[in-house]
Subunit: 254 residues, 2 copies
């Protein structure tokens, strides 16, 4: 009646590191991450910690030299290859602090490949702390098992985003003035895609006209209720993953 224990252990901590990982590589962990492993998770010598660097997949690493403020982790074996998430970008106007953090966290969990902040006229917030957003992406990636972080692009103005829009990528956008039901749009427009969500105050009429003028733009409707910006971002991303992404029956990651 003894079951083989899972390896790596399910309880193993999971940590993103900047260092390039590989078999036999020793990584010294300091700062907050070390505090978390040593004082919160109480990692002991020879315990396994899972590491990923966003480039080489996930590695099981063994702890040693645990001191007060740092420890060393030796990469033993690769436990996962580098992930391929579906080719989906989330383009969002910055919204209030807690809500943009939520968008970053959920975008990472749901499998977004790139998070692209977009500056629009009615945005209540015009500056964005990219370091804080990145910290939320890292934490979500550690938690949800991703082996790469979503790209976090610098904020661009909406005009520039539209002017430089790459050929062959659909741009779904939630248009309060009306659009195609989401399910219908998703079935009609497969392939690389992005979702554009405006700020709390919505796009202004000139912005909406500019978006609609883009050949790649697909105005969509997200039902009869008024969704907050972050709800629209999370819900429409989930819908895309369900029908066109890697939650779909055939998978959409390739």
């Amino acid at each position: 009646m003894t079951a083989t224990p899972a390896w790596p252990p399910q309880s193993a901590s999971r940590l993103y590191v900047e260092a390039a990982l590989g078999e036999g590589v020793a990584v010294t962990v300091e700062g907050n991450a070390a505090h978390y492993l040593i004082s919160v998770m109480r990692v002991k010598p020879d315990d396994i910690v899972l590491l990923f660097d966003g480039r080489s997949g996930e590695w099981a690493a063994r702890a040693r030299d645990i001191r007060k403020r740092d420890l060393v982790l030796d990469c033993v074996v690769r436990t996962k290859p580098l992930e391929r998430v579906p080719d989906f970008w989330l383009c969002v106007a910055p919204v209030k602090k807690g809500r943009i953090d939520l968008i970053a966290e959920k975008a990472c969990e749901l499998g977004v490949a790139r998070l692209q902040p977009v500056q629009t006229r009615r945005a209540v917030v015009d500056r964005l702390n990219l370091d804080r957003l990145r910290a939320h992406l890292v934490e979500a990636a550690e938690q949800c098992g991703r082996t790469a972080l979503p790209d976090l692009a610098a904020m661009v103005k909406l005009d520039a985003l539209l002017r430089d829009w790459p050929e062959g990528r659909h741009l779904f956008f939630a248009d309060e003035t009306g659009g195609v039901p989401m399910a219908q749009a998703l079935v009609a427009y497969r392939g690389p895609a992005a979702l554009l969500v405006g700020p709390e105050g919505g796009f202004d009429p000139a912005e909406r006209a500019a978006i609609r003028a883009l050949p790649a733009a697909v105005p969509v409707s997200l039902g009869p209720r008024i969704l907050r910006a972050e709800t629209a971002a999370i819900a429409a991303t989930a819908a895309w993953m369900t029908l066109n992404g890697d939650w779909a029956p055939q998978g959409g990651a390739e």
Copy 2:
């Protein structure tokens, strides 16, 4: 070049009240709601405030007798009938405070008909502040334009939920041990439905077996990443609304 101003004005505050509304009914508003209208929104005599009572739709009401701590609103005309949301329940194990509040807020915005808290063995949280949850539902309903609040049911044990499961209602549940891709499950199982999401620690094996034994149960997969409980709840609700609810091309509310 003068456009007809929208009526009721788009900037009108929107408020849930307990009182039964009707043409000519005068409602005295006190407490936090009065503070919000008087001091935050700076409502003046004759300004329009939108009211809903969860039973009779939405009403435009005119402000008068604005004092320091209360004001009177006279219902003038009904602006919306009582809504019919799709027949979808969200059954969730309680999770940490901020995250269960988020589930309540998003469930309301996305159009859930009933929020059903469920007690499970691995739940980190075993008590639930229903008043606080209800306050989040009210605030979300005010913001998203709903004219009725979702039902908020008292917490039940998982065993009881399954024992009394109503005939003819599908029960989608996110099964970490594997399930049908969400899109495929949604197409195969139309009609009244519910989603069951476990706590942070998941269902235990006996609970999972009990759920799977229910004929109405449909184990679903929400992609290859590990979703937090609240992410699974929000994402799967959005997927249901997209394909089987009132975001769908034919609508699912009737």
